[in-house]
C-alpha cells in the first residue's frame, strides 16, 4: 500500500529554473511532512520539513507548499543549481510515532 505518492520520478531543469516535486498522502493522521535530499553514494539527509499548521515554509531557495484539504504537499527549488542535482524523497509521519513513510523518490538533474 503506497501511503505517499511522489511525482515525477525524474526531472530535468535548466540552471536558474524552478524545480517542483509533488507528493500526495492518504492517511489524514499524518502531521509531519519532511523532505530528504540524497546525493549519489550517500545517505539521505533532512532538507526541510513542515507541519499542517502552516501552508508554506521557506528556507533559502527551498519552499514547501502544503494543501491540507487536498492532502498534497510539494517542494519548490527556486533558482535551481547544478549542485542541487540529487534524489529527493518526501515523507510523512505522525507526531510521537517516530516512524516515516517515504515516497518513491525524484531524481533531479539541473543542467548547466
Amino acid at each position: 500500500q503506497q501511503q505517499v505518492k511522489q511525482s515525477p520520478q525524474s526531472l530535468i531543469v535548466q540552471k536558474g529554473g524552478i524545480s517542483i516535486i509533488n507528493c500526495a498522502y492518504e492517511n489524514t493522521a499524518f502531521d509531519y511532512f519532511p523532505w530528504y535530499q540524497q546525493f549519489p553514494g550517500k545517505g539521505p539527509a533532512l532538507l526541510i520539513a513542515i507541519r499542517p499548521d502552516v501552508s508554506e515554509k521557506k528556507e533559502g531557495r527551498f519552499t514547501i507548499s502544503f494543501n491540507k484539504s487536498a492532502k498534497q504537499f510539494s517542494l519548490h527549488i527556486m533558482d535551481s543549481q547544478p549542485g542541487d542535482s540529487a534524489t529527493y524523497f518526501c515523507a510523512a509521519g505522525r507526531t510521537g510515532f517516530q516512524k516515516l513513510v517515504f515516497g518513491t523518490g525524484t531524481r533531479l538533474l539541473v543542467s548547466p
Partner: protein
C-alpha cells in the same frame, strides 16, 4: 562525532548464506531504523527500535531479524539470503520526542547471487 556509521560498505553473498549488518550511532539517540532502498520503490522500513532492548516490525520485515542489545548499536541479520534481498540498506537514528529528524548512515550495498 561520527554520527551514524554502517559496516560493511559492500558485500556479495551467495543464496542461502547469512550475514549481519552493523549500525552504530554516537548521538545518544533512542530510536534506530533499518531501511532498504530499491529503484522505483523509495525507502522502505524493515525494522525499527524505540530503545535499548526493543525491536518492532516495519513495512517489509520478512527474511530479516534485528537486535538492539546496546543503545548505540542496531544489528540487521539475514539468516538465509535470497536474490530479492539485493538492495542498498540504510540505517538511521533519531532522538525521539519532538526531535523527529532521522539521521542516516552512508549505506551498505548488498548483492545476493
Amino acid at each position: 562525532n561520527a554520527g551514524v556509521t554502517q559496516t560493511p560498505k559492500f558485500r556479495v553473498l551467495k543464496t542461502g548464506q547469512s550475514m549481519t549488518l552493523l549500525c552504530a550511532q554516537d548521538m545518544n539517540h533512542e530510536y534506530m531504523y533499518w531501511y532498504r532502498q530499491d529503484p522505483g520503490m523509495g525507502l522502505r522500513l524493515i525494522h525499527y527500535s524505540v530503545g535499548e532492548g526493543t525491536t518492532a516490525k516495519g513495512e517489509v520485515p520478512d527474511g530479516y531479524n534485528v537486535s538492539r542489545l546496546k543503545k548505540q548499536n542496531f544489528l540487521l541479520g539475514l539468516e538465509s539470503a535470497a536474490p530479492s534481498q539485493t538492495s542498498v540498506y540504510f540505517c538511521a537514528s533519531s532522538y525521539g520526542g519532538d526531535q523527529e529528524t532521522q539521521y542516516f548512515g552512508p549505506g551498505t550495498r548488498l548483492l545476493v547471487l
